[in-house]
């Protein structure tokens, strides 16, 4: 009897948590780690190694050798920046009811434009990288805005349009970058120092990690996202359109311009991500050999972060941690693929929410039936 009561209380708590998106995300992450841990046990590795690697990524403290190096924290944050920005890109579009699968293309456009400004822009300190960031952001806006415009004016599916534009962006980037004199098959000449996002403060704090000024950009972007979506009249229009396009139109909201604006801002975030990777983590322009995949991973980031500013920030940090813990895991005999498995599991579990709800409903039904039968 007592056992049943505790189990029903557990179910009630579970039900309550599932009705709250933040709790679902946390639950799902815990579940993902749990299964990841089990998997390691099954293949006969010690999961402690995985957690030690994660601890080292988050705090810089190596528990096995008892040494501390802040560089790991810096690398973690560096890996998180483009994920956060691409998550915001995805999330912003999602809040307006759009599926921006084109963050990758917008990212590439931003990256390419930033590289050009870095090589050809005025070599004035600060101004140089500010210009590069601005140009990259605008390019991303344009790349996303085209899709929004096509969607709003001609009902072109944004999914198809963004996928197409991803390819165009990729090959255009390769072609244009190769035109730069002194470029070989994989790199351009080295950027002037004025174009780099280097921060002496971060270099000192994080023991020469690649952490750069992009961190502030990412945090500012989160703040802007929150302000725009939750606080402004434009945000009200965006959210109304996202939840119910027809009702928004009925209320006199210009849905076409709202969709264009939403995709432009989504593109802005992704374009900035591209610029930050180009100017923060590299000292030369790259001729892309493949997708960096930040744009695509942004989809998962936004999904786990429930497309809110704070949630996306946190989930970007989580995915960044998983990515930058990989080399540390390998050193501890943990296959690095486990991080991909965990992030995959998290995404699958979050999509399973509907299924869990069904299960709870089924349980409630069974209980009602049992109660009836025992009464009769």
């Amino acid at each position: 009897m007592k056992k049943e009561r505790t189990s029903s209380r557990f179910m009630a708590t579970l039900e309550h948590m599932l009705s709250n998106d933040s709790w679902v995300s946390i639950l799902v992450i815990v579940l993902g780690f749990l299964v990841g841990t089990l998997l390691l046990l099954v293949i006969g590795r010690n999961p402690a190694g995985m957690y030690a690697a994660m601890l080292q990524t988050l705090t810089g403290y190596d528990i096995t050798r008892n040494v501390w190096n802040a560089r790991y924290i810096g690398e973690w944050l560096t890996a998180s920046i483009p994920l956060i920005l691409c998550g915001l890109s995805m999330g912003f579009a999602a809040r307006t009811g759009l599926f921006n699968i084109g963050a990758e293309g917008q990212y590439i456009v931003g990256l390419t434009v930033a590289q050009f400004v870095a090589l050809y822009g005025p070599q004035v300190p600060v101004l140089h990288w500010v210009l590069a960031l601005l140009a990259a952001g605008l390019a991303g806006m344009l790349w996303g805005g085209i899709v929004g415009f096509l969607k709003a004016s001609y009902s072109v599916s944004e999914v198809v349009a963004t996928i197409m534009l991803n390819y165009i962006a990729f090959f255009l980037s390769r072609w244009l970058t190769m035109l730069i004199p002194g470029t070989n098959t994989y790199r351009t000449p080295t950027f002037p120092a004025t174009a780099r996002l280097t921060s002496t403060l971060f270099l000192r704090l994080t023991n020469e990690s690649r952490l750069n000024l992009g961190l502030w950009v990412a945090l500012a972007a989160c703040l802007f996202y929150w302000y725009m979506i939750e606080k402004t009249r434009k945000g009200f229009e965006l959210r109304a359109t996202g939840f119910n396009k027809e009702a928004a139109r009925y209320a006199g909201i210009k849905v076409t311009s709202t969709i264009t604006i939403s995709m432009s801002i989504a593109g802005l975030f992704a374009g900035l991500a591209g610029a930050i990777v180009a100017l923060g983590s590299f000292s030369y322009g790259r001729v892309l050999a493949g997708y960096d995949n930040y744009g695509f991973n942004g989809i998962a980031v936004a999904l786990v972060g429930n497309s809110t500013a704070g949630g996306t920030l946190l989930s970007g940090l989580l995915f960044g941690m998983l990515a930058s813990a990989q080399p540390l895991m390998q050193g501890r005999q943990i296959p690095k693929e486990i991080t991909w498995i965990i992030s995959g599991l998290v995404v699958i579990f979050i999509s399973l929410r509907g299924g869990v709800r069904l299960f709870l409903e089924w349980r409630a039904r069974e209980k009602a039936r049992l109660r009836k039968e025992t009464m009769e």
């Binding site: 606080k231 402004t232 009200f236 939840f243 119910n244 009925y250 210009k254 409630a364 039936r369 009836k372």
Partner: protein
């Protein structure tokens, strides 16, 4: 053997958050017309879906002719002789009547072809026995809605059903077609069928039903003999309190023309002209009703007026200003309020809070503006605090309540509050009480009349003729996209309007209003 064709004993069915059926017992005698009366959400449809095998009950037993059964799915129900005529027909439009009827159980000739000849003969035979008057070779798209319903009836008769469930069968019919359906129901009973009639219309029950079971909030209130129970009694049992039938309505004081529609043509979703050459005036202080069966161009007319759908030709003026090509926002600003037909599609953002929904059209106005493009959420919330008591909106968490979690009646009150609070000169109201319970309907009707008396011009589209007759001062009947005729409400009677709704043009009314001289 049992006297009962159907017994449903102690049926309980819950959905997440609602107990749709709470220990319901329904006993239907053999060869009777048994009405199932209740408001929307009373649990009628759930109960019948369980009987038809669409849902499984959480608890309770079903007996068909005294034998306990577990009805697994609709095919099983059909095998048990139970058939259902759904509210929305399930017919293939470019098939003939017979082809639709045999679909899924086609008779074969010796060579394996579909034996359409014998099927047609059988359909004709059935049609004759039950007086359905259906031509077996007609195409569905060429016959009227009333005929299509008869095809649905034939479909289940063809499958040898002797227990027929009708789900709100009159919702889509004109008054004449309703009369004919009532005759058909009687004939079916006299030929030995048992009928369960789901409805919330008391008149129909008084006309044809033998007994009536009343449901309220998932519970059985009573089962009564219809002959010895008055309409008022039935209504009171359905609602749970006495109900007023007639509205107290002061005579209209019409003033200047507010809305003027001239020769309006509007293209429908399928390319054909859904509204053809429609002209109409609405004046201050009057309610003009558009009567018509669903799908005769009313929705397109409303969408064209409110700017949701482009206009093919014609002219619309509001207060003398041409708004034919005006944007939706311009129309709102010109003083047009709109209570849309589909409140979930257009009227509300269901995932928004109540207060956000209440400013859906006014959020851009000065009062809600804060610097840096911000929306003044405090003012938005205050606005809701002001409107909630004014319009008697019941919302659990006040302004912060999600629209989604409110009842249909309160959602509609919220829309009404928002639109009326815009202080529009003109209210375009479509189907304002669809799916609402009697209490909410009374409330909304009273509110619309009050707005009329304040001098607003109101255009009301409704598929419920009673609603039109009760509320309106002038009534325009619409059929196949045309306004067939316009009559003063005092001189209107149900059958004349019904004839117009069916497309018969009326000669000048015998008691023509001499003084008003308004002819649109």
């Amino acid at each position: 053997m049992s006297d009962y064709a159907i017994e449903m004993i102690g049926i309980t069915k819950s959905f997440p958050g609602v107990l749709a059926n709470d220990d319901i017992t329904l006993r239907v005698r053999d060869q009777e017309i048994h009405a199932l009366l209740g408001e929307n959400g009373a649990g009628k449809s759930t109960l019948m879906s369980i009987l038809f095998g669409l849902y499984q009950a959480d608890a309770g037993t079903i007996k068909v002719r005294g034998r306990p059964v577990q009805i697994r799915d609709p095919n099983h129900a059909t095998a048990l002789g139970i058939g259902m005529v759904h509210q929305h027909f399930k017919l293939v439009h470019n098939f003939t009547v017979t082809e639709n009827i045999i679909l899924g159980s086609e008779p074969r000739t010796k060579t394996g072809d579909v034996d359409i000849r014998s099927a047609e003969r059988k359909v004709e035979e059935l049609s004759r026995i039950y007086g359905l008057n259906v031509a077996p070779k007609a195409l569905i798209e060429q016959i009227s809605v009333g005929m299509q319903q008869r095809v649905e009836i034939l479909k289940i008769l063809y499958r040898n059903a002797d227990i027929l469930i009708f789900d709100e069968p009159t919702a889509v019919l004109t008054p004449q077609e309703i009369d004919e359906l009532m005759q058909i129901l009687r004939r079916l009973r006299n030929e030995g069928k048992t009928i369960i009639l789901i409805t919330h219309k008391l008149g129909e029950i008084k006309q044809v039903a033998d007994r009536c079971t009343i449901l309220r909030r998932g519970k059985v209130i009573d089962t009564v003999d219809v002959a010895t129970t008055g309409e008022m009694e039935l209504a009171a049992m359905m609602v749970g309190r006495p109900v007023k039938f007639k509205l107290d309505k002061a005579p209209a004081q019409p003033g200047k023309v507010v809305l003027e529609i001239e020769n309006l043509c509007v293209q429908g979703a399928h390319g054909a002209m859904a509204v053809q050459d429609c002209s109409l005036q609405v004046r201050e202080g009057e309610i003009v009703g558009i009567a018509g069966v669903d799908g005769n161009g009313q929705s397109e007319l409303v969408e064209a007026l409110t700017g949701l759908r482009p206009i093919a030709s014609g002219r619309i003026t509001a207060d003398g200003k041409d708004i034919t090509r005006a944007s939706i926002r311009e129309r709102i600003d010109a003083g047009m309020g709109h209570i849309p037909e589909d409140r979930h599609k257009y009227g509300l953002v269901l995932k928004f809070r109540l207060d956000e929904n209440l400013v859906l059209k006014t959020y851009r106005h000065g009062v809600y503006r804060k610097p840096l493009g911000m929306l003044d959420m405090e003012k938005v919330s205050n606005n809701a605090e002001r409107l909630i008591p004014l319009f008697d909106i019941r919302a659990g968490q006040g302004p912060a309540t999600r629209a989604m979690s409110m009842s249909g009646g309160n959602q509609q009150k919220a829309i009404l509050a928002r639109e009326i609070d815009l202080s529009p000169r003109l209210l375009v109201v479509a189907q304002p009480t669809r799916g609402l319970d009697v209490g909410a309907i009374e409330n909304i009707h009273a509110r619309l009349l009050a707005e009329r008396d304040k001098g607003r011009a109101i255009l009301l589209v409704s598929f419920e003729l009673d609603e039109i007759m009760n509320l309106c001062d002038r009534i325009a009947a619409m059929s196949k996209g045309r306004i067939v005729g316009i009559v003063d409400a005092e001189h209107a009677d149900e059958h004349r309007i019904g004839a117009m709704m069916a497309g018969y043009v009326q000669e000048e009314p015998t008691a023509a209003p001499a003084a008003s001289g308004v002819q649109a």
